[in-house]
């Protein structure tokens, strides 16, 4: 399953004022894997997301995506190259219908109207929102809203789909459904996925490999088993005294 490297971050850094939000971070996302990115609050997960998707420009380091140097590219350009991310908050077009939300995701990638229609239907079907096409995004229940934000991003059929806390606020059944959707996106479409979430158990269950961040640096990397046994990771999460 492990293919070549799709995204490579080498030594990326970004600070805000005196705070080093991400510091000399290197990691690689391999083709067709689901890579988990975890870490305690403030570890730099969101900053990492913003860096790789072009919303922040790294102060140092290099980003290579699909063999191309994308360091400093605008988010729209990164998106057009096939690296698309979702958002933790305000992840929807609230006053637009479900249909229009997914249309926005597909717009740049499918020019033909009939083909675009097909793409929108397929994407809505995948996340299970087919019967809610005309509803405004803001009127959907929370679980559907999270799925819709995945649908917007996936409507672009990216090479790399980066999901920023897609499970937040979901109940047990909704988590299982969302994880099922995420796995199907990988298995049926060959899409590589980078998953950030606070639900460690769900991440462990879904991801082939995991990168752990703490204080803006990489603390550990490896299989879920390795990572969960790593004493430094345990200390970071439990706030052990020697950290």
């Amino acid at each position: 399953m492990a293919g070549g490297t799709l995204l490579e971050a080498s030594g990326i850094s970004r600070s805000f004022g005196g705070l080093k939000a991400v510091s000399n971070l290197s990691f690689a996302v391999r083709e067709n894997e689901i890579l988990g990115l975890i870490g305690p609050n403030g570890a730099g997960k969101s900053t990492t997301f913003n860096l790789i998707s072009g919303y922040y420009r790294p102060h140092a380091g290099k980003l290579t995506f699909a063999g191309r140097d994308i360091t400093g590219f605008k988010p729209s350009k990164v998106g057009r190259l096939g690296l698309v991310r979702t958002f933790q908050h305000h992840s929807l077009l609230a006053d637009l219908s479900v249909y229009e939300n997914i249309l926005t995701g597909a717009y740049m990638f499918v020019r033909d109207a009939a083909e675009r229609e097909q793409r929108i239907r397929e994407t809505a079907g995948l996340v299970g929102l087919t019967s809610h096409m005309d509803e405004l995004a803001k009127n959907l229940p929370h679980g559907h809203q999270r799925l819709l934000s995945i649908a917007i991003a996936f409507a672009s059929r990216p090479k790399l789909l980066c999901l920023d806390e897609p499970l937040t606020g979901l109940n047990g059944a909704e988590i299982n459904h969302a994880l099922d959707v995420i796995r199907r996106i990988r298995d049926d479409f060959g899409t590589t996925i980078l998953l950030v979430d606070h639900n460690i158990r769900a991440v462990m269950r879904t991801c082939g490999r995991i990168v752990v961040l703490n204080f803006g640096e990489k603390l550990a990397e490896g299989s879920p088993e390795d990572v969960s046994r790593n004493p430094e990771v345990i200390r970071a999460y439990l706030g052990g005294g020697t950290a």
Binding site: P75, G79, V84, F87, L93, Y107, F109, P141
Partner: protein
Amino acid sequence: MSNAKWADVIGWALLAVLLVLALTSGDTYTLKVVLWISLNILAAAALRFVMLTGELNIATAAFWGVGAYVAAILTAWYKLPFFLSLLIGGLAPMLLSVLFGYVTLRTKGPYFMLISFAFTEVLRLIYTQTESIGGNSGMIGIYPPRWLDPYYSAIVVAIVAALLAVFFWLERGAFGKLLKAIQNNDAVTESVGIDVLKMKVICLAVASFAAGVGGALFAHANRVISPGDFSFLVAVYALAYVKIGGETQFSGAIIGAVLLTLLNQYVIAFGHYEHLFFGGAIVVAMLVLPNGLMGLFERVAIAFGGTRENAAPAARGGH
């Protein structure tokens, strides 16, 4: 038929009435009122088109003015054919708006509004300081061709209707949906590969073309233009039309412009207090008519058993 479609019908019906009046009425006063209503509709529609992206573009007034001055110079000085000056009167502010937008549309909300306001006033001050275009007293002798004179109101209504048809078509299609997507959440829109700045610049350029043509039509209707005609107040009036008509519906700009222009025929007797009337109208509309008259119509329609477009799940019997 859904309320949204009815709302569109109201707007186009009003334009049709204006066109019929312009073609059939022999009364000079009626023709003048029809002319002013049409121009106000165009200003309101141009302002509203950029509002689709969430930005309040006071510079609608600036581009209106550039169109007026450019077309006036072309017909009064260079004797260019009227329709050609009209076209260039639209293209010149359109090009200017591309430059203006490319620099300024990186900002949004109050920042963009203030920049567009400042831009408008700077242009106005430049006119007052440029003696070659008449300085403070402006330009005179801007006539449409003589053969056109009796049909001028009808021509204006027809051109306004054609430009509104373009706005309507663009808003209805994928382009309009993307503009609304940008208004809702530009970060999400950007993430799926859409160049938000480029979209906003295109939107501004289309609106500025229409505003420029509007200014050119205004110049030839008035025969005289002066810098004072192109202050930020042009955009404030347009905002009043949009807000009172109802911002979310295409017809809002039309119905607001029709109503306020008609009312203004009476308030004009108050002289300088006319501004108070528009200010007051905006305040009242914001307080009691959250989505203007179109919103009021919608509420009435629902009260009489209609359904709201895009109803909440509960209103449709759950999900």
